[in-house]
């Protein structure tokens, strides 16, 4: 019997963890003790986590530690972690007087400031979004605690938008994302309302009522301010610099991940009918200018999630400074593109280009002189017009193994544009034509010496059990048994989201964000050499773990940062049930601390 430790026990008893620091071993090996699939109702309602990891032959206890939960004020001068502020630095307050405190904690980086102190920059993926800077304290055992936290002022870049995953650049800055850029074409021409998925909530950043119907009321709002890679440089707790890199293109940035050359950045684009992007900076360590490329998938095999030769299509060169004026001058979608509506099977004229992206099947032409604006403000549409592949679905985490020059990318569902035909392929070249697999998969992308991807293939692919998930035959678990609510095989992954590679240990850590695929989301350890998958953590039904990120040696200790979102949603004993707000606050924390690991 493997032991299980519920999350709350782990949190309450942080001190039970006896971390041992040690220097790197030459023969780096790592294995986690696996855990069982939660089977009883009680197990399904708690976090279960492996209790040990064996590093270089020596066993270490493992648990999850909370640094902060949304709403926490760790120090005297702290702001509530996750509270959303408007452009003037005032808290966003709703008509009932309630403050907007986001519980959508996402990626948190561990950084060292120019003052050599320890900091964490944390994402909140809401609209308006926020990033928080937290000063950390580390004890001798490696436990991290928050000392002070405050929101980072984004007024210079007109606020933040759905900050999702992120990474730490080789030069020590935080590279954050803005996911699901609002569709510029949908903006109401009279009011300026975004008409986005989130009901125009960006208005709150400007102290405006999102529901106003007054003409010109939203003139301060501009869709093209959102959907960028955002770099955050920390000097000290008070001095934090924010830059949106317009040169890197505007898409649904899940994540930008910088290669060891300090120039090449891979960008995963999240959503339906999306592309894969590569930015190559002119100067190492400076992301403000460079050339942007979009991938072309030349399929070689349709099995196991598909394999392809990857070609690259240049979208041209740009600098932040060149693009910024287009935004400041309130360039509109209709300034960039001419469009012919494809109603009732109308044909797309020859001098136009038929595309299919997140925003559907369109027929567009770039207006004269607007190529540069199109290449960055509308990078995905422009990439599609240039012939790049925009048939990918739900690109998520990226991580890199420098030893084998392999980039790993998770695609949390293989479907829609990736399938062969259907409405998502209308207007495309049907580059990707693989079988639907709603369980998703992690792909391995082989890079050349210049860090340009050359090929891509499925590495760890989930196994669907039901037809609606892509199984050829219905072979779901027995409806009367404990596993009935899992549509993906429990011995495989379901809907991989954030991933992180542990270099030298050949270990890929895979986090799930699943619905019906796996009833309880899991975190897996996957050995890329032996291909062995080990389940190391399972979250309660309805909650999930995001933002996995590995730090082999952060001030003398190793950590895997992780966020647990909306835990303990399940009722427990008596009515009234404990559906309290506090129960739903997310946890930002880490698995560890580990000894400092070989880098």
């Amino acid at each position: 019997m493997e032991k299980r430790r519920p999350l709350h026990t782990a949190i309450m008893a942080a001190s039970i963890l006896m971390a041992v620091s040690l220097s790197a071993y030459a023969d780096s090996s790592l294995s986690f003790q696996g855990i069982d699939v939660p089977a009883t109702d009680a197990q399904k309602r708690s976090v279960t986590v492996t209790d040990k990891v064996i590093i270089n032959g020596k066993s270490y206890p493992v648990s999850y530690h909370t640094i902060m939960r949304s709403g926490d004020k760790p120090g005297k001068h702290s702001q509530p972690f996750g509270q959303i502020y408007d452009k003037n630095g005032n808290p966003v307050v709703r008509p009932d007087g309630s403050a907007f405190i986001s519980s959508d904690n996402d990626f948190s980086s561990l950084l060292t400031g120019k003052d050599k102190k320890m900091y964490m920059v944390s994402h909140f993926e809401s609209v308006p979004a926020a990033m928080y800077i937290t000063q950390l304290a580390q004890d001798k055992k490696g436990n991290l605690k928050a000392a002070e936290t405050r929101h980072i002022d984004f007024s210079g870049v007109e606020g933040g938008w759905v900050h999702c995953a992120g990474s730490v650049t080789p030069w020590g800055t935080h590279l954050g994302s803005e996911e699901y850029e609002p569709n510029a074409k949908a903006v109401d021409p009279v009011t300026g309302k975004f008409n986005d998925e989130y009901d125009n909530k960006m208005a709150l950043y400007y102290g405006l009522d999102p529901d106003s119907k007054e003409a010109g009321y939203f003139s301060k709002l501009n869709v093209y301010n959102y959907g960028w890679q955002t770099e955050v440089a920390v000097k000290d707790f008070k001095n934090v610099k924010v830059a949106k890199h317009y040169a890197m293109g505007r898409v649904a940035h899940e994540l930008g991940y910088v290669m060891p050359d300090k120039k090449t950045v891979y960008i995963s684009d999240d959503g339906t009918n999306v592309g894969m992007f590569r930015f190559v900076a002119d100067k190492a360590g400076d992301l403000s200018s460079g050339e942007l490329f979009a991938a072309k998938w030349h399929q070689t095999d349709s099995e196991n999630g598909g394999s392809a030769i990857i070609g690259w299509i240049s979208l041209g060169h740009a600098t932040d400074a060149e693009i910024k004026p287009f935004i400041e001058n309130h360039t509109k979608f209709s300034d960039i593109f001419e469009e012919v509506e494809l109603k009732d099977n109308a044909a797309c004229p020859a001098d136009f280009k038929e595309i299919n992206t997140t925003w559907g099947h369109e027929c567009l032409k770039v207006k004269p002189g607007m190529e540069l604006a199109a290449s960055r403000l509308e990078a995905r549409r422009y990439a599609a017009m240039k012939g790049a592949t925009t048939e990918f679905r739900k690109m998520e985490g990226l991580t890199f193994d420098p030893a084998t020059k392999t980039l790993y990318m998770s695609i949390s569902e293989i479907g829609k544009g990736m399938e062969d035909g259907g409405k998502y392929d209308a207007g495309t070249e049907n580059d990707i034509h693989v079988s639907k697999n709603t369980c998703g998969g992690v792909y391995a992308i082989q890079l050349n010496d210049n860090y340009a991807a050359e090929s891509m293939s499925g590495e760890v692919i989930g196994i669907p059990l039901s037809k609606d998930y892509g199984a050829e035959e219905e072979r779901t678990y027995w409806t009367g048994g404990p596993y009935a609510n899992n549509k993906c095989d429990l011995n495989g992954i379901a809907n991989p989201d954030n991933i992180t590679f542990m270099p030298k240990y050949n270990t890929l850590i895979i986090g799930e964000d699943s619905g019906d695929g796996h009833e309880n989301d899991a975190i897996w350890s996957y050995n890329v050499k032996t291909k062995k998958l080990t389940r190391i953590l399972a979250t309660p039904y309805g909650s999930e773990t995001t933002s996995l990120y590995y730090y082999p040696d952060y001030h003398g200790h190793g950590y895997i940062m992780a966020v647990v979102q909306h835990p303990y949603g399940e009722p427990t004993t008596n009515m009234p049930q404990p559906y309290t707000n506090s129960d739903k606050r997310a946890y930002t924390g880490y698995i560890g601390p580990f000894p400092a690991m070989s880098k």
Binding site: D199, T479, A484, D516, Y579
Partner: protein, 543 residues
């Protein structure tokens, strides 16, 4: 034919062993229809073959008002279901019940619907008694205790809408009359309903902790004011007694109304009275427009149709008893965040189905502070708790719907001062007869007679346009509304809402067939013959 018979008897045998149609134990959390939260009405065909459009959807899906952030008006025109739900799994809709109806005589069904399955001959509550020693097949955690709602309403309603127990004491349940929701909820389409509200006990106590009916009535009026966002008439009271400026005229004087005067950011505050006022000050409970205070409860019985000398009336027998309790407070910000999370999930994973927490014993949470639980007839007609799946059926309408106020549909539809006793009465005390049609504004498009507008928009009196009785009565051969019927409707909703006696009994018989099969998970609508205007499969054009 043979194989058909075999299948039927096999099902019957199976039912005996496993209590309901899925074959699973009642305590199971396994869903046979994973999209059970999407009700059958969502599969309505909204465009005829000749291109005519029908919109019964706007009543539920609306450009909602803060703090209902589930603005879902666009669902009026699309079927943006997860792929799994593109197949209509409410297969009972497609069963022809003509045979089942013919098998039951009018006498038999009337005997059945007149039988009380809620109260025994001594006025005791059958279900409450049974739950004292909970049957193991209802007991989710098998600990011998029932931890869900125990029915405690006696339906002994006084002239002021208040319920009394067998000793005459107040149960604090208060019945109210409301404009029945357009479509499926009208008796003409299957069932009679009633709704009662109960505030938490401190709302019925004065500041010294003594029971005060006056305090309770004022607090109910304050709740009504906050939900409707408009003034509510009350019997004249001296505000000094309560220390609350109820009419918001800036001084403590005599008030004959509770004024809607709430905008905390502009310095306009309201307060409950009595003990609730103290609790509000201490932050133990909360107050905001559009939201009910903590521990508010609703009880909603769904009943068969009976017939008396005056025509069709509410039957004694309950088809269902539905219960809701607000167990937690969510601020506007918190509700906004939840709606955002829902939208983001739908955007990220459009094919992912919604999940609901709970089980047969504890009920299901809507994730926004409310718990819902229901009781439904077993195959012999006794009430039993609804299974997890049967309760998921309730959740679609009570979680992310534009039409609700704090997850509740009925209270904003409560009749006000123009009605008998300010709308505080039970339908058994006054039926629909001579009740005027209410005016209602949908999405800021202006006040209109609500049912007339519904008939116009929908071209029928039910979602599936299967109620031919209404169609032939209210529409002429060209599909135009008959002015004389509409005129009659304006002053008397019974002309529309009540079916003929023949139809009423057929609806009862058809539903009883579902009860016998215990096949609620395949649909619990009373279907006489399969409706034509409902998709079995959403067509490709909409996907």
């Amino acid at each position: 034919m043979n194989s058909k018979k075999l299948t039927a008897s096999a099902i019957a045998l199976f039912s005996c062993a496993a209590a309901f149609a899925s074959g699973l134990p009642l305590t199971s959390k396994t869903l046979i229809n994973r999209a059970a939260y999407i009700p059958p009405q969502c599969y309505t065909v909204i465009k005829d073959k000749d291109g005519a459009k029908h919109n019964p959807c706007y009543t539920c899906h609306r450009d909602s008002v803060e703090p209902n952030y589930n603005k879902d008006a666009k669902l009026q025109t699309d079927y943006s279901f997860p792929e799994y739900a593109m197949t209509n799994r409410w297969t009972n809709l497609f069963k022809d019940r003509t045979g089942d109806i013919a098998d039951q005589s009018d006498k038999q069904i009337l005997e059945y619907v007149r039988q009380d399955n809620y109260k025994d001959v001594h006025g005791g509550l059958i279900l409450a008694e049974k739950l004292k020693q909970v049957p193991d097949e209802w007991d989710f955690n098998h600990d011998g205790k029932w931890r869900g709602y125990v029915p405690d309403c006696y339906f002994n309603i006084d002239g002021d809408g208040f319920d009394h127990d067998t000793k005459g004491g107040y149960t604090l349940w208060r019945a109210f009359a409301y404009a029945p929701f357009p479509g499926a909820f009208w008796p003409a389409n299957g069932s009679a309903d009633d709704v009662l509200i109960r505030l938490w006990r401190p709302f019925a106590l004065d500041e010294n902790g003594r029971f005060s009916l006056q305090v309770y009535k004022i607090n109910l009026a304050i709740t009504e004011t906050l939900i409707k966002r408009t003034d509510t008439a009350i019997s004249s009271v001296d505000e000094k007694t309560f220390g609350v400026d109820l009419n918001a005229d800036g001084r403590l004087d005599t008030a004959d109304r509770v004024a809607y005067s709430w905008a905390p950011r502009k310095g306009l505050h309201m307060s409950y009275v009595g003990m609730a006022k103290t609790l509000l000050k201490k932050g133990k409970i909360h107050l905001a427009a559009g939201l009910f205070p903590e521990n508010t409860e609703f009880l909603h019985s769904v009943r068969y149709l009976d017939v008396d000398a005056n025509g069709v009336v509410m039957g004694k027998r309950m088809k269902e008893l539905r219960y809701a309790k607000k167990t937690d407070w969510y601020t506007y910000s918190a509700l906004d965040r939840l709606a955002y999370a829902e939208k983001k999930e739908k955007h990220d994973f459009p094919d992912r189905l919604s999940a609901f927490y709970g089980d047969i014993e504890h009920g299901l949470g809507n994730g926004q502070g409310w718990t819902y639980q229901g009781f439904i007839e077993d195959k012999d007609g006794g009430l039993r708790p609804q299974t997890y799946e049967e309760t998921v059926y309730c959740m679609g309408c009570h979680s992310g719907l534009g039409a609700t106020d704090d997850g509740i549909v009925s209270f904003n539809r409560k009749y006000g001062k123009e009605a008998k006793n300010g709308g505080w009465y039970h339908w058994s005390q006054k039926g629909f007869k001579d009740t005027p049609e209410q005016m209602k504004d949908y999405d800021g498009k202006g006040m209109r007679p609500e049912y007339t507008a519904y008939l116009e928009n929908n071209g029928a009196g039910d979602e599936f346009r299967g109620n031919t009785e209404i169609i032939s009565a209210f529409f002429d051969a060209d599909g135009k509304l008959r002015p004389e019927k509409i005129n009659a409707l304006h002053s008397d909703i019974s002309v529309l809402l009540l079916p003929s006696i023949t139809r009423a009994l057929a609806l009862d018989k058809a539903y009883r067939a579902v009860v016998r099969e215990q096949s609620y998970i395949y649909g619990r609508d009373a279907v006489i013959s399969p409706p034509q205007n409902v998709y079995k499969e959403i067509p490709a054009a909409y996907r």
